[in-house]
């Protein structure tokens, strides 16, 4: 049995008086596709943001690929991670955001090549060659010279995926990546993610409200509520035969709202 690539151990996190995560623990195996579902405010997005080091934790430990994320070992002691340690750990992780977060002043190509050139010292020619491959994979090769403002939401999100992939992370985090899209554009982004899952062995964590997609895509589904994982299991178990009352209630609401499962 291989070691887990992500080990979250008793993480807590509060925003003011609001406890978002309450002693959360979870493990993710290499290559696993995980769907995080649950009502808003349940902490599912927060755990992604914590894994990307966008939020600090109040307590607990996280291991990525066998190494502490927020701590570093010095002379047998665990210290708070410094910026250098965080930068090293971030190389393993990429993230795609709900609102794309493309750089509006840079063309598609430059959005994708900026980080590899700056953080990995890649030469422009090599970075552009790799970027073209990635843009081709997400079906955006013909828009390499376009500015983000000229693209549709779905196109922006596909560029954002290529941009995150350009750093070759082992783990990809998808934070409600289709929530801001017009309904007819959702499928083009989901298709890219299916392709990614089929063609790579990347570990993928997605927070989503697309229950149908989560069902087909994920190896395992985690249901979050009030900062804890209430129920987890194979998609069929969670979506067809949820055991917990809160899971049942949530799915009922989602279906009533018109989402297919």
């Amino acid at each position: 049995m291989p070691a887990p690539i992500i080990k979250v151990d008793a993480i807590s996190k509060s925003f003011g008086a609001f406890k978002v995560l309450d002693g959360l623990s979870m493990q993710v195996m290499p290559g696993e596709k995980l769907a995080l579902i649950g009502p808003s405010g349940s902490g599912k997005t927060t755990i992604l943001r914590i894994l990307m080091t966008l939020e600090k934790i109040d307590g607990g430990h996280i291991q990525i690929d066998g190494e502490q994320l927020y701590h570093m070992e010095r002379n047998g002691q665990l210290l708070a991670a410094d910026e250098r340690h965080l930068a090293k750990m971030r190389q393993k992780i990429g993230m795609v955001f709900q609102l794309f977060n493309l750089f509006p002043h840079k063309c598609v190509m430059d959005n994708v090549t900026l980080a590899p050139m700056l953080t990995k010292g890649m030469a422009r020619a090599a970075a552009e060659k790799r970027a073209m491959e990635l843009l081709d994979m997400v079906g955006m090769a013909d828009k390499a010279k376009a500015m983000p403002a000229q693209l549709s939401g779905g196109q922006k999100q596909r560029v954002a995926i290529a941009r995150a992939l350009a750093l070759s992370p082992k783990i990809m985090l998808f934070d409600e990546v289709t929530s801001a899209l017009d309904p007819e554009l959702v499928e083009e982004v989901l298709n890219v993610m299916r392709k990614l899952a089929a063609e790579t062995d990347m570990t993928m964590l997605l927070v989503t409200h697309e229950m149908g997609f989560a069902h087909d895509f994920a190896d395992r589904v985690l249901f979050f509520d009030r900062g804890r994982i209430v129920e987890e299991g194979k998609p069929d178990e969670i979506f067809r035969h949820p055991k917990q009352e809160r899971t049942q209630g949530f799915l009922k609401k989602i279906i009533a709202a018109g989402h297919r499962v």
Binding site: L54, N101, H105, L114, M147
Partner: protein
């Protein structure tokens, strides 16, 4: 007629001095603006304190007093400056303090999601600032920088008080020699106005060039 062309020559010489002061003062102001504006956003308390002190002090005292201080008081401490140096220093420091707040505000106006994208792409603090945040903030700064530059241009007239032969100084020379107030002061009024127009126009065309592509229309 020949007499008037001689006076016109004086005024044009003054215009050159005013332009020189405006350009050099603006360069210094720009440097101070970025140093102090980014200093105010620093993680380090000392830098924030230094930047805040500089900004509050130079905004809170008059340019006239600052100039006299630089020109007449610094020599007492063994630092003697030429009138031009004193003018550039006082103008640059004064306007730089205003522009520093413009820099700070513009940097803060760039959305949090851009900073988060920088972290997710593992850019260092400075890399993100240099390649992602500042280029976007610059566009926000430009219109106000235009205002600041025009303010600086108009403030250059105080240097006539330390006998630097700028536009205003030359106009006074012409007035005292001819007894005519209307001609020299109308002339420099127009020249100041034209110089300000040139600044406005320059900043606006720079703005247009930098905004290209950002809204998806003007490509």
């Amino acid at each position: 007629m020949t007499q008037w062309s001689g006076y016109l020559g004086l005024i044009l010489q003054g215009a050159l001095v005013t332009i020189e002061l405006t350009l050099m003062g603006s360069v210094l102001a720009l440097i101070m603006a970025f140093l102090a504006g980014m200093g105010r956003l620093s993680r380090f308390f000392v830098l924030r304190a230094l930047a805040t002190t500089y900004i509050e002090f130079f905004r809170g005292t008059s340019i006239f007093v600052q100039l006299f201080w630089v020109y007449f008081v610094l020599p007492l401490a063994g630092i003697s400056l030429t009138p031009l140096q004193a003018g550039v220093l006082a103008l640059g420091l004064n306007v730089g303090a205003y522009a520093a707040e413009v820099v700070r505000g513009a940097i803060q106006s760039v959305g949090r999601e851009q900073y988060e994208a920088c972290i997710a792409l593992n850019l260092g603090r400075w890399q993100g600032m240099r390649h992602v945040i500042l280029p976007q903030a610059l566009l926000v700064m430009l219109p106000t920088f235009g205002n600041n530059a025009i303010e600086l241009l108009k403030a250059t007239s105080v240097v006539s008080l330390i006998s630097l032969a700028d536009l205003t100084f030359q106009a006074q020379v012409v007035r005292s020699q001819t007894g005519n107030t209307l001609m020299p002061f109308t002339a420099i009024l127009i020249i100041y106005f034209v110089l300000a127009l040139i600044i406005s126009w320059g900043v606006r065309s720079l703005e247009r060039r930098m905004a290209r592509g950002l809204d998806g229309v003007r490509v």
